[in-house]
């Protein structure tokens, strides 16, 4: 190792940062190298001096002055806080408006899903109800056929009434009514959805208990379609239905008297109401179909007395009771269907919820991935920053080291020049020596002069004495 290699070791040794081996090696070198030993002593002396640097006292009023500055800072911060809050609010608002920071899932994204789900549930419900309604109609038809054939066979009103009471169907059915009912049951559902209401009303004008049995189902479809959440069926329509039902009930009560006098006049009233319905929208068509069905029902009720003109009041009462029982069954079916529809909707909504949860989980995973990526990027950036800093620090050290070395070289040159001048000064010392010698000579001369002076004085005294003695 060269002397330069021991310089860092010496610095570390000053701070007790060397291992025992390193310290022994350094000690051996110092023992063998006088210049390094001198340097070591110098370094130790410098450190000892620096360690003795006394602590300066704080200037007078230092803390009070700082505290005043601090209070000022606190006041400024207190003033800035409301502004900062406003700015934050503004920023948040802007971000919300632009949609950049809105968390997943959003209302906006949920709504189309909901609507789609509800629409799907409605379609499904309609299909189910349509099928159910059809099967019920078919069941009714079957019952009618059975009853009709029984009537044809016996041709007895009393027996027919008994049969119908047993089967639960209307007692006033004739063979002509069966035919009309068949045509009406085929026409009524179609009219309710697609055909113009006028046709529906014309069809429904044919008196038939079959048509009456089909009416509640088409009505149920229309009502349930309208009643799907969140919009309830329009009040106006409900009120109209009530009015029609009331009028039907009145017609039923007045039937024995009025029907015998003017059966067609009363039957035409619902048709007029149905014909006034709008024809353009699907809702209007459905409403008109409902009206048509209701009018058919009313018509049927009003038309019953003429068909049963020979029946007794008791039979009429029984038929009303049977009709009421049937209506109960139908309303129960309606309720069941509504419950089914609601359950379907709930099921589709829960499915949507599950899908949303899955999507949210997926989103979380994506967000986590992004965060981890961002974090790793940050780590890389920090590492790069450290490298850059280290590099710049090294460059800085190199710069200062080079500069110090240059300065040192310059100083060494100057020292050499000074040494040369010192050598010149040595010649001057010789001169000084001769000068000093000359001065010594002068001093001795002076001494001898004074001695001479003294001697001369004595001589003069002696001369004076001789002159005095001489006559």
């Amino acid at each position: 190792m060269h002397c330069d290699d021991y310089m860092e070791q010496m610095s570390a040794a000053l701070d007790d940062m060397l291992t025992e081996e390193e310290w022994q090696a350094l000690k051996a070198h110092l023992a063998s190298c006088p210049s390094c030993d001198a340097l070591w002593r110098q370094l130790k002396e410098n450190k000892a001096l620096l360690q003795e640097t006394p602590l300066l006292e704080l200037p007078a009023g230092y803390h009070a002055e700082w505290k005043a500055k601090w209070q000022q800072l606190l006041q400024e911060e207190a003033k800035e806080e409301p502004k900062a809050e406003e700015a934050t609010k503004e920023e948040t608002k802007t971000k919300e408006e632009t949609g950049t920071l809105v968390s997943f899932p959003t209302k906006k994204t949920k709504q189309p899903w909901k609507k789609m789900g509800v629409a799907a549930a409605a379609v499904f419900l309609m299909a189910v109800v349509g099928m159910g309604g059809r099967s019920l109609v078919e069941y009714q038809k079957h019952q009618e056929e059975v009853t009709g054939s029984a009537l044809l066979e016996t041709e007895g009103a009393t027996e027919a009434a008994e049969d119908t009471q047993e089967t639960g169907s209307m007692p006033s059915v004739a063979s002509a009514g069966v035919e009309a009912g068949e045509s009406a049951k085929e026409a009524a559902p179609k009219e309710a959805t697609t055909q113009a209401p006028t046709e529906g009303t014309e069809e429904s004008a044919v008196p038939s208990d079959q048509q009456e049995s089909a009416v509640p189902f088409s009505q149920a479809v229309a009502e349930e379609t309208d009643a799907l959440p969140p919009s309830p069926p329009p009040k106006g329509r409900a009120m109209e239905s009530e009015v029609v039902e009331e009028s039907a009930a009145v017609a039923e009560e007045e039937a024995p008297v009025e029907a015998s006098l003017e059966p067609m006049t009363t039957a035409q009233q619902p048709q007029t109401i149905a014909a006034e319905e709008p024809e353009t929208s699907a809702e209007g068509a459905a409403g008109a179909a409902d009206q048509a069905d209701l009018s058919a029902a009313t018509n049927d009720l009003t038309n019953q007395p003429p068909l049963r003109s020979s029946a007794t009041m008791a039979e009429s009462a029984e038929s009303v009771a049977v009709e009421a029982a049937e209506k109960k069954v139908l309303s129960r079916t309606k309720v069941t269907l509504q419950v089914d529809a609601i359950e379907e909707t709930m099921a589709s909504l829960s499915q949507l919820g599950e899908e949303t949860t899955v999507l949210q989980e997926a989103k979380k995973v994506v967000v986590k991935d992004e965060a981890s990526k961002e974090e790793s990027l940050l780590v890389q950036v920090r590492a790069l920053g450290t490298v850059v800093e280290e590099t710049s620090a090294d460059e800085d050290i190199t710069f200062w080291y080079t500069k110090t070395q240059e300065t040192l070289a310059a100083k060494q040159e100057e020292v050499a020049a000074l040494q040369a001048k010192a050598a010149e000064a040595a010649m001057t010392e010789e001169e000084t020596a001769s000068f000093e010698a000359a001065q010594a000579e002068i001093a001795s001369c002076k001494t001898s002069l004074s001695q001479w002076d003294e001697a001369l004085g004595q001589t003069e005294v002696e001369v004076q004495l001789v002159e005095a003695q001489t006559p």
């Binding site: 860092e8 000064a425 000084t432």
Partner: protein
């Protein structure tokens, strides 16, 4: 103030306890003032800069993570503030290692010369202290920082590395180079002093002739 107490006060200060923060300031202000004074010699605004250190500490108190000691953290702010300030002033003031003087033949020659007593002479009464601090003033900021933190403040290599934001190796290397540079500056100063004395003597001798 010991480490645990300062950490406790720092935690309170972070929660908004002003009195706790002021206690920390009182405990560290003399130390910070001295560090700034040693790092920025010859500056009149040492007081302002050292006070700014505590204002910065208050502003960034929430960044103090309680892992390091509060003293190390405040040292770091002080050192960074001083270095930033010196860098900011670098373009405005030039610190030259050389000084021109009139030689025997009347020509301008370059020679190292301290700028005169900048460190409080009354404090540096001990023989050699004034001389060494005059040499310290001529050191680079990086070298002066590590030597001050190690030899004057007595901090460990690890603490210095944390304060200066460098590695242990860099601290070790800077200390070694800084100490060598300081030694050279001292020798140069002494050579100048000797030369100056001889010049005075020679002038006296000529006057006698």
């Amino acid at each position: 103030m010991d480490r645990d107490e300062s950490l406790r006060l720092a935690a309170l200060a972070k929660q908004g306890d002003m009195a706790a923060f002021e206690t920390l300031v009182v405990a560290h202000e003399r130390m910070v003032y001295n560090v700034i004074y040693r790092m920025m010699p010859n500056q009149e605004d040492v007081k302002d800069i050292s006070q700014e250190v505590f204002l910065k500490a208050y502003r960034y108190l929430d960044r103090f993570d309680q892992k390091a000691s509060f003293s190390t953290w405040i040292y770091k702010i002080a050192v960074n503030t001083a270095i930033d300030e010196m860098r900011r002033r670098k373009g405005k003031e030039t610190i030259s290692l050389d000084w021109e003087f009139e030689g025997e033949d009347g020509a301008q020659k370059k020679q190292y010369q301290p700028d005169g007593p900048s460190v409080e002479e009354q404090v540096l009464e001990k023989e050699g202290l004034q001389e060494i601090w005059q040499a310290m003033e001529k050191l680079s900021a990086e070298h002066r920082t590590v030597i001050t933190l190690r030899d004057v403040e007595g901090l460990s290599y690890t603490e210095i590395a944390e304060i200066t934001g460098t590695s242990l190796g860099t601290v070790k290397s800077r200390l070694a180079r800084g100490r060598m540079a300081l030694k050279d500056l001292l020798l140069a100063g002494r050579a100048y002093g000797a030369n100056s004395q001889k010049q005075t003597e020679r002038r006296g001798q000529r006057a006698l002739r």
